[in-house]
Amino acid sequence: MLQQWVQYFPDMMKGVLITLKLTGSSLVVALVFGFILALMRLSTSKTLNLIGTWYIEIVRAVPVLVIIFLAYYSLGNILTLSGFTAAVVSLGAFYATQYGEIFRGAILGVDKGQTEAASALGMPSRTIMRKVILPQAFFTILPPATNQLSNLIKDTSLVFTIGISDLMFQAYSAASNNFLPLDMLLEAGVIYFVFYLVLSKLLARWELNVQRSRS
């Protein structure tokens, strides 16, 4: 088994690179779009609120795989999206709902007195959000956001179904070469695990550093 693991390791690393790129790009889309969704749901405008709410309710109820297929086969055909772009759009669109709710909860969780104090000092609402609310929401956001990141990493493995040569795809094609699906999938599994372990440790250290700098 070890010999097979070593033999296909370079291929797997090529896959990891794609998985990494995919995770990063989808995360950026999800964070930006998620923040917009949170603002929509917190907005006093009824229309924006309704759009945000419905978007979240619908999209998070649909399996990610369905969204990926929809993006790739229908939207992708019309707009001639590459597989990678379609994957980023669909993962980003789905995870935006998750991050949107995390952001909204964290923003609501900041004590009302903070907004009052900042308003009483004459700060406009945008400044209050940027300088007072978000920096405090950070600690509420980070743990569940890390959690969702682990889901996102794992869900990137679904994109092998639209022919993107990510880690999962590499494991799959290796298995069809050497007929050892268990070994190859196990190798991929271990790599996914290490990938997430490193990321979550880095995030935890980041959180600790910020916490220390503020006391």
């Binding site: 009052e116 104090a117 009483a120 700060m123 503020r214």
Partner: protein, 270 residues
Amino acid sequence: MSNEVVVSIRNLTKRFGKTVVFEDVSLDVHRSEVVAIVGPSGAGKSTLIRCVNRLHPFDEGSLQVLNHQLNKGSQFPSKQVLNDIRTRVGMVFQTFNLFPHLSVLENVILAPIEVKKVPRKQAIQQAMELLDMVGLSEHANKYPKRMSGGQQQRVAIARALAMEPEIMLFDEPTSMLDPELVGEVLDAIQRLAKDGMTLMLVTHEMQFAKEVADTVVIMADHRIIEKGPSREVLENPRTGRAQAFLKRVLNPVHATELEREVAVGHGGGR
């Protein structure tokens, strides 16, 4: 105290839904006047001063703050008006509400830099002077959670003063403090009064109100039941409701004893 009226409250009524917070409240505040608002909790004192800087809307009546007319209803005044009022009216809260993610110095300079666009260097210099005034300049780099309540509240005062307000609102600034820390905060407030700042102060510190305030307003049962020169109102209240309130506050043990005696007396007569 000058003749210029800076806050003019006319027949103001405020409700939360159907609950009346206060009704038909009228009060004029002059430049450099110190107005203490006292009374039992739930009388609407805090809500009243929160209307002055438009943290709360009101339902009836009219309110003029620094020559700006505030209208009834939940519609905000124009950005310009709101901004002008809020930069010229400072506020200190019962729960301090310092920004916990910022150091003491950063708390004080944030609004001048962000709102007034004061250059950072200048803002820091001014903030250090203010912190010096409240006796906290050596704590400038500390974070709020490392400080006592009294220190936090003094930082909050410095933070409000950094916007160079003309009127300061104090919403029960000492109610959350340990008794031995009350003095240092009242000290800072008294200094402001001496410097001619216009103050509206909701408080339970009767002695302080008597000594520092020009005018005392007693609110109870959702209205103003008595107002006038502080000594007069606190020493010789005219209405029965005000007398009962002051008796209970100034001499709590004795007052309840009296009430009990009255109650026992009633029981015996049955």
